[in-house]
Each structure stands twice: as structure tokens, then as C-alpha cells.
Amino acid sequence: MLPSSNLILQSVLDGVFLGFLYSLMALGLSLVFGVMGIINFAHGDFIMLGSYLVWILANSLRSDPSLMSVITVPLFFTIGAAIYVAIIRPVLGKEPLIQIAVTVGVGYVLQNLALMMFRAEPRAVQISYLNFYVNLGLVSVHTAKLTSALLSLFIVLGVHYLLTKTWVGLAIRATAYDKEIASLMGINVGKIFLLVFGLGISLTGLAASLWMTFGQADPYIGSSFGLLTWVIIALGGLGGVSGLLASSIIVGVIQSLTMTLVSPSVSLAIPYIVFIIVLWFRPQGLFGKG
């Protein structure tokens, strides 16, 4: 049976919404990698941790998951700062393999902590103020997804503004450009790193709140989000907010179309194949400042 054009249109729309949320998920990783050069393989697992936290909070406070960001964002900033001091700072500037090993270790700990505490079954928040569809004729829009997409876009642009228009942003970009020169200019690089890592992790807490308005938490979602966000960074390159948004939307749309046109069982294979092939032909766009 041939898919109708309606279905394709609907899938593309779903994919775009998902893509905006992905861009928020990838933003923190992009910052941490771009500014600090830290290869964080535990990024997805922080989103997983956030999702469980949101699940607990929203269910016990009987409130919408997106409102939980009020709690998760500051909390995750603190967690991020603590992890930076305890684990990331000692491996700054070490070879990539060691950084990857350490962050894989962090991811492993988070994943199995979640498994111990919450067991393996996926969990979804039962209360959501926005869980309905609005029919627009050709397509229908899931309000929770629309809202999370808009909020994601808003935050991504907000962070972009922060980086380009404020003094702190300038300091961050200077640090990203050249640590030594930045510290000569009187920027406290250590503080900037702390700030950036904290910000990167707090953004996962925010993404998790939006995610839980329609998704579910499970100890293993971290691995797929982790790889997916890296794919987005690889496709979009570092630095540009437009590149990040574009590649997120591409990944979201590919995934959504694969799910409707091929099979939901293989929704990751095609983005990953695209990723590997893009790596071959655009390695220069991938290594950032080089």
C-alpha cells in the first residue's frame, strides 16, 4: 500500500517537532565539546537521569512535566558542576580515549543506578496538560510536541543570544577559541569551564522535562540519545546555531519518515548510515576550529 501524501506531510511535521527537541538535547553537548574539547559520552545518560527525575516529580506533585524544569535545571547545574570538579577537570587536556573512557564510566554508573532504582520497565508521566491533538485538516498537531518544539527553539536561540551578545558569552567564545589567550585577557578559564559544563548538563535537565511531556523514561534511552546527539553535532558542525538546528531537524525528519515508511524497528539505522557517510566526506566540518 502506497503511503498517502498526507501521511508523508504528517511525518515530516512530526519529525520537525522532534528535531527541535533534539537540537535542545544536542546544544549542551555541543557547548561542552566546542568550548572545553571534552568528549562527553554520558550526555544521553544525563537526559535519561533527568527523565526519571521528572517522572518522579511530576507524578508526586501531580503536575505537568514541563513545569518540572524549574527544579531540574538548577539541580542539574549543580550536579554538572560537581561532576566537572570531581571527574572532568582531572582529565582535561588528556588524550580523547581517556576522556571517552571516563565519561563512558559516568554513563555506565548512571544507567545502572537507574536500573537499580527504577528497574527496567519504561515509565511515562501520566499527567500532561497538553496531551491532545489539534486537527488542522491535512495534518494534526500534538500540542505537547508542538509546545516542546517551540520551547526548545526559544531556548536554543536564547543560548545563542547569551553566547553572542553578552559579556559571559564573549568570555566563553574567547575560551573556546584559545584558552591561553583568554586567560591572558583576564578570563578565569576554570570558572568558564565550570559554567559551561554546568550549563551543558542543566540543558539536559531542561530537555528531559520537555521530553517527558510525551515520551517515556527507561534506563537505556541514554545510549540512543547519546549517539543521536553526537550524530547531530557531526552533521551540523560546531559553533553555529543554524547548523545545529538544521541537522537536528534533518535527523528528526529522517527518523520520523523511516518509522512511517519503513518500520519503527529500524528508526536509528538510517540516521546512523547517513552519519557515517557524512563523516567520510565532511571531516573538515567536524573537527571544529581546525
Binding site: 568528549i39 573512557a101 559516568v106 555506565y108 524497528s265 529500524v266 571531516p283
Partner: protein, 326 residues
């Protein structure tokens, strides 16, 4: 010259002889023999990883892509066409090496390295996992029970254990041989600094590809043993978390250290089994959590892993045997 040959054959021989006594020591208790078999399989895979990960310094996270592909090929040849795994395992090795070539050639050709290499290989396992859902469907493929050396399938575990011990010995000597040969020097130079390595005349693409294909073909060969020890295969054989686990063993053991990697594989497997056996019902996933902590600790405090300890031990043993000369 003599010392050189014995230096990579003798350790393997010691491992085989010592390993061969294990079933006798445990009185052929199948539980311990199976545990020994699984440890030897994991150790062989981790030591194969040592070639690409430890020597060449490429963080490969795709080990079970090659184990799965080679193993499923050999198993299918046996169950569908009655072709003995003695042939099938070599074909499995060939197919895995071919996959490695098609993955590795463009990656190295276009200079994909570091985090991007790791991610590409991690993606490879997921791709194979999902493609195999399409090809195999979500079924378990059970290997029908046909006993004998022709099928390398037995009721009890001893024979498979002895066989895998020989594979382990081969992988150990290969590792030691590589580390003392030109290839080994070149791979280590690539691991340390690709640009500098290339400037002293090392064709980094060629040597990385060589390392990758050697690693993949060993895994493709072991694949059948792995699957036959599992009794079934399915798309789940392409296991990303096990692939990461192999890399963890390599890092915890110490990059490029044969004794370290071997020791880490044995210790982690035994700890995992101990925790499953005694604490499994109480704290699920505890052993993986501990491994995570171990990995962080190693990364921060001892990037050389267990290797300094085990290397010292090996040196002492050597000194006993040869009276001082290393």
C-alpha cells in the same frame, strides 16, 4: 633470537597448559568449566581488541558487530548447509574482515579518528542490529543439537573450553608477536601521534586498516564459539553494550598490555558472575555500576590501568625463568 621467539610463544603455552588443568582442578564441575569457557572467550575478544584499541589507539566500539557477523555466518552454514564450522569459522573471519575493510577503508582514508571513529563504530553495531531485525526477523535461531568435533558442539563444556583455550593462546602470541614486530612499533607510534608517525614514514591508513582487519577476523573466527556457547543467536547478538564492555576491559587492563588486558578480562568476568550469583536478586546491575566506577578511577588516577601491576608480575616470573635477563 631464541629469547625473542620464546618470548611470545612461551607465555601462550603457559596459559594453555595452566588453563588446561582448570577442568581437572574443579573436578569437571560444569559450572566452573562454563565460567572458564566464557572467561576465555571474553579474554580472547578483549585481546583481539587490544590490537586495534591498545596498540593502534583507535577506540573501537564495534566488537560484537564482527563477532555477530562471523558467528552467524558460520552457524548458518552449519545449520542450513551442514558445512563444518572448521570451514565456517574461517569464512566468518573472512566476512568480518571484509566488513572491517569496507568500514575502515573510507574512515581511515578520510581521516576519521578519535571520538568520530568511536561513534562510527558504535553506530555500526546499531546499524547491524537493526538491519538484522529486517533480515532475520525477531526470532531466536537455535542451533540444533548435533554432537561432535565436526560441529564443535558438545553436551558438556570441556571440549569447547579446550578449543577456545587454543584460540586464546593464538591471540596472546599474536599480540606479543605484533608488539615486538615492525607492525607493533608502527601501531604504537600511530596511537601516540598520527601526524608525527606519518612524518617518520608510516603509512597510517594502511597500518590502521591492517590492525582493524586483524582484529575483525579474529572476532569473526571466535563468533561461532561465542554463539555455540550461547545456544541461540538473534539480532540481539549485535550487542552494543557488550561491545562497550570489551573496550572497558581493554582500558581497565591498560592499553597495549597483554597481561593487563588478560587479567582485567578474567577479573571482571569473575566479579560479574560472583555478583550475579550472590547479589543478583538484591541489586540489579551492580556489577556494571562497579565497572563504571572502576573505569572512572582508572581514567583519572591510573591511565595505564592494571598493566603496571601485571607487567611487574610478569617481569618477576620471567626473572625466575631466565635468571634475570628480560
Amino acid at each position: 633470537m631464541r629469547a625473542r621467539i620464546s618470548s611470545f610463544v612461551l607465555p601462550a603455552l603457559i596459559v594453555v597448559v595452566a588453563g588446561a588443568t582448570v577442568p581437572f582442578l574443579v573436578g569437571f564441575n560444569q559450572y566452573y568449566v562454563l565460567l572458564a569457557l566464557q572467561s576465555v572467550i571474553i579474554a580472547s575478544i578483549a585481546l583481539a581488541w587490544n590490537i586495534i584499541g591498545g596498540y593502534a589507539g583507535q577506540l573501537d566500539l564495534a566488537s560484537f558487530a564482527y563477532v555477530g557477523l562471523g558467528g552467524i555466518l558460520a552457524t548458518t552454514l552449519m545449520t542450513e548447509y551442514n558445512i563444518t564450522p572448521w570451514v565456517g569459522m574461517f569464512l566468518g573471519a573472512g566476512v568480518s574482515a571484509t566488513l572491517a575493510f569496507f568500514i575502515g577503508y573510507p574512515l581511515f582514508r578520510f581521516g576519521v579518528k578519535g571520538v568520530w571513529y568511536a561513534l562510527s563504530t558504535a553506530a555500526l553495531v546499531v546499524i547491524l542490529h537493526e538491519v538484522s531485525i529486517m533480515v532475520l526477523g525477531s526470532f531466536d535461531y537455535y542451533i540444533p543439537f548435533v554432537e561432535g568435533w565436526y560441529y564443535l558442539r558438545f553436551r558438556t563444556w570441556e571440549n569447547l573450553y579446550y578449543f577456545s583455550l587454543i584460540i586464546l593462546a593464538f591471540v596472546i602470541s599474536l599480540n606479543l608477536y605484533i608488539s615486538r614486530s615492525k607492525v607493533g612499533y608502527y601501531l604504537k607510534a600511530i596511537r601516540e601521534d598520527e601526524v608525527a608517525a606519518e612524518a617518520v614514514g608510516i603509512d597510517i591508513r594502511k597500518y590502521k586498516l591492517l590492525a582493524l582487519m586483524t582484529y575483525a577476523s579474529i572476532l569473526g573466527f571466535i563468533g561461532y564459539i561465542y554463539i555455540v556457547s550461547q545456544r541461540t543467536f538473534s539480532y540481539k547478538t549485535f550487542d552494543s553494550s557488550l561491545s562497550v564492555y570489551i573496550a572497558i576491559i581493554g582500558i581497565v587492563g591498560g592499553l597495549g598490555s597483554v597481561s593487563g588486558t588478560f587479567t582485567a578480562a578474567l577479573i571482571l568476568k569473575v566479579v560479574e558472575e560472583y555478583l550475579r550469583g550472590y547479589l543478583g536478586g538484591v541489586l540489579p546491575g551492580l556489577h556494571l555500576l562497579l565497572f563504571g566506577v572502576l573505569l572512572i578511577t582508572v581514567g583519572i588516577l591510573r591511565p595505564e590501568g592494571l598493566s603496571t601491576l601485571t607487567d611487574a608480575l610478569v617481569k618477576k616470573v620471567k626473572a625466575r625463568i631466565w635468571g634475570g635477563a628480560p
